[in-house]
Amino acid sequence: MNGPGLVAYLIVGALLFGIGIVGVLSQRNALMVLMSIEILLNAALLTLVAFWRFVGPNNFDAQVFAIIIFTIAAVEMAAGLGLFLLVFRQRGNANVDELKELKR
């Protein structure tokens, strides 16, 4: 019996991506939105690694690209945390549905 194939991994990635979308769209707290973005990035990462393994196992460019995704995740988290820390210092909370000063 063979192990799980490409499609199985891609389905897991799709489910994670769906969960991440729900989180990004529904969460009220900015930190939770950041965390949901992390889930989205992880879903993309899983599909990338699965493709590397099952489509081009000897092309290691995919793994380098995965490392770049890690970097982007880390930078996004650092910048996002700094930004929301500033917002939090000024307003006392970081609820995305209350950040609407630029509206008028």
């Binding site: 991440g20 380098v64 930004l83 909370n93």
Partner: protein
């Protein structure tokens, strides 16, 4: 690795990854959300190992899990309710259904143990139906009206309801702005949240009595007349001055507002022992007289999600379904061999040759991100009001803006926060920045 073993590992790891990711969205506690996301990352690292990408698994654990650790730290520092205690108590007291396992940290099964003061006083625990509050009987059982199993009535609500049967009057109030009160349900004019039904408090009656009571700072329902330790958590009980009901309610409302708005700064000294009392607010809330629609809206208001939750869920499910259909239907050009080269070596070579610029760029990006975060925090700190001064530990009149030694006794000066009342006016506005610079150069003691 045999195929069966691989399938078992795959299924369990992906189950963990998906369930914890979903649990992150379901829980009411930010802290738990962070831990759940960490678990999801670790499970994903396991999937990477299963796929043969060991290097990526290691990086995943180092960077993402470590990053989440920092995130959890921020949550604990920033959130007014990182453990979800307040939300949880609110939900329990209002007997609300909701996402279970992730929100709970006390078992549902033993509610009778939560009434120690009542049994102390020799009173009987009253069991009531969560849907029909008029049903009450001395022992457990099921509701004669709807068949639900009975639960013990919360002691405070019980006491109050017996006291207030006559005088109670329902008004609708905003959970965030307690001063908003009106006779019919609707939306808060200030923030647009759904108003919830509260029982109006009678003007004054000394429910606690004249004797001082001792209460646990974490579990306000624990109250007894002599000092001791909390039966739930073992913390030392804090003495409470007898207060009249109306004062206490005001204080609770004040606390709730403070929690929800400014939250993070200092608390007034006299309320520190009563932090847990915000939870008691929920006893006053009453779900009768609300339609299921309003009820749902209120839950959305209270939870960490916005009111767009159904749309978000619909979109998420839709996109996941779409992706799955595409994935299954597309004929992928599968390669039926494994990697012939050692991945770690190959990736290292690639990084140091063809992707050198990308590698450097990644490092630069990380540095830029961290520098940006630090800059943001620095600006926010300058904008803050607190100014540090250095003061002699013995000779308090020695104050200067730079660290050093005391001219009188030679002891090292300690940094103190400048009180705005005493020293705020003496400084012109322009010198604040300068002082901040000096302080940062000097470092902290």
């Amino acid at each position: 690795m045999s195929g069966v073993f691989e399938w078992i590992m795959f299924l369990s790891l992906s189950l963990v990854a998906i369930v914890t990711a979903a649990g992150m969205l379901l829980t009411m506690s930010m802290y738990r959300a962070g831990l759940a996301l960490m678990a999801s990352f670790v499970a994903l690292a396991g999937l990477f190992i299963l796929l043969g990408a060991d290097l990526l698994a290691a990086i995943q654990i180092m960077m993402n899990v470590g990053g989440m650790l920092v995130m959890v730290l921020f949550m604990v520092m920033m959130m007014m309710d990182p453990g979800g205690e307040m939300m949880w108590a609110m939900k329990r007291d209002m007997h609300l259904p909701g996402p279970g396992a992730f929100s709970m940290h006390m078992p549902w099964g033993k509610p009778a143990k939560e009434e120690p003061p009542q049994q102390q006083d020799g009173q009987e625990v009253e069991w009531t139906c969560p849907m029909h509050p008029q049903v009450s009987q001395p022992g457990p059982g099921s509701c004669p009206k709807c068949g639900m199993s009975l639960i013990p009535r919360a002691e405070v609500a019980d006491e109050r309801s017996s006291h207030e049967m006559v005088s109670q009057e329902q008004v609708y109030s905003c959970p965030m702005h307690p001063e908003v009160q009106q006779a019919q349900p609707g939306k808060c004019p200030k923030c647009g949240m759904t108003l919830i039904a509260v029982e109006q408090q009678p003007t004054s009656h000394a429910q606690v009595g004249e004797i001082a009571t001792y209460s646990c700072p974490m579990h306000p329902e624990v109250q007894q007349h002599q000092p001791g330790n909390c039966p739930k958590c073992g913390m030392q009980l804090v003495k409470q001055e007898p207060v009249t009901e109306s004062q206490e309610v005001n204080e609770q409302q004040h606390m709730a507002m403070e929690h929800s708005h400014t939250a993070h700064m200092e608390m007034p000294e006299d309320t520190t022992g009563k932090t847990g009392h915000t939870m008691e607010m929920s006893h006053e809330m009453n779900m009768s007289g609300m339609t299921p629609g309003q009820y749902y809206e209120m839950m959305v208001d209270m939870a960490m999600s916005t009111a767009q939750l159904p749309w978000a869920i619909a979109l998420g499910v839709l996109s996941a379904m779409l992706l799955i259909v595409l994935v299954v239907l597309t004929p992928w050009p599968l390669a039926h061999t494994g990697p012939t080269q050692d991945a770690t070596t190959a990736v290292g070579e690639l990084l140091l040759s063809r992707y050198m610029i990308g590698f450097e760029g990644a490092a630069f990006l990380i540095l830029a991100g961290i520098a940006g975060a630090v800059l943001f925090a620095q600006r926010a700190r300058r904008a803050g009001q607190a100014q540090l001064e250095h003061e002699g530990p013995v000779a308090a009149e020695v104050r200067q803006s730079q660290p050093g030694t005391c001219p009188k006794c030679g002891m090292t000066l300690m940094s103190v926060e400048q009180t705005p009342a005493a020293h705020g006016e003496s400084h012109a506005h322009g010198t604040h920045e300068e002082q901040g610079d000096q302080r940062e150069q000097g470092g902290h003691v």
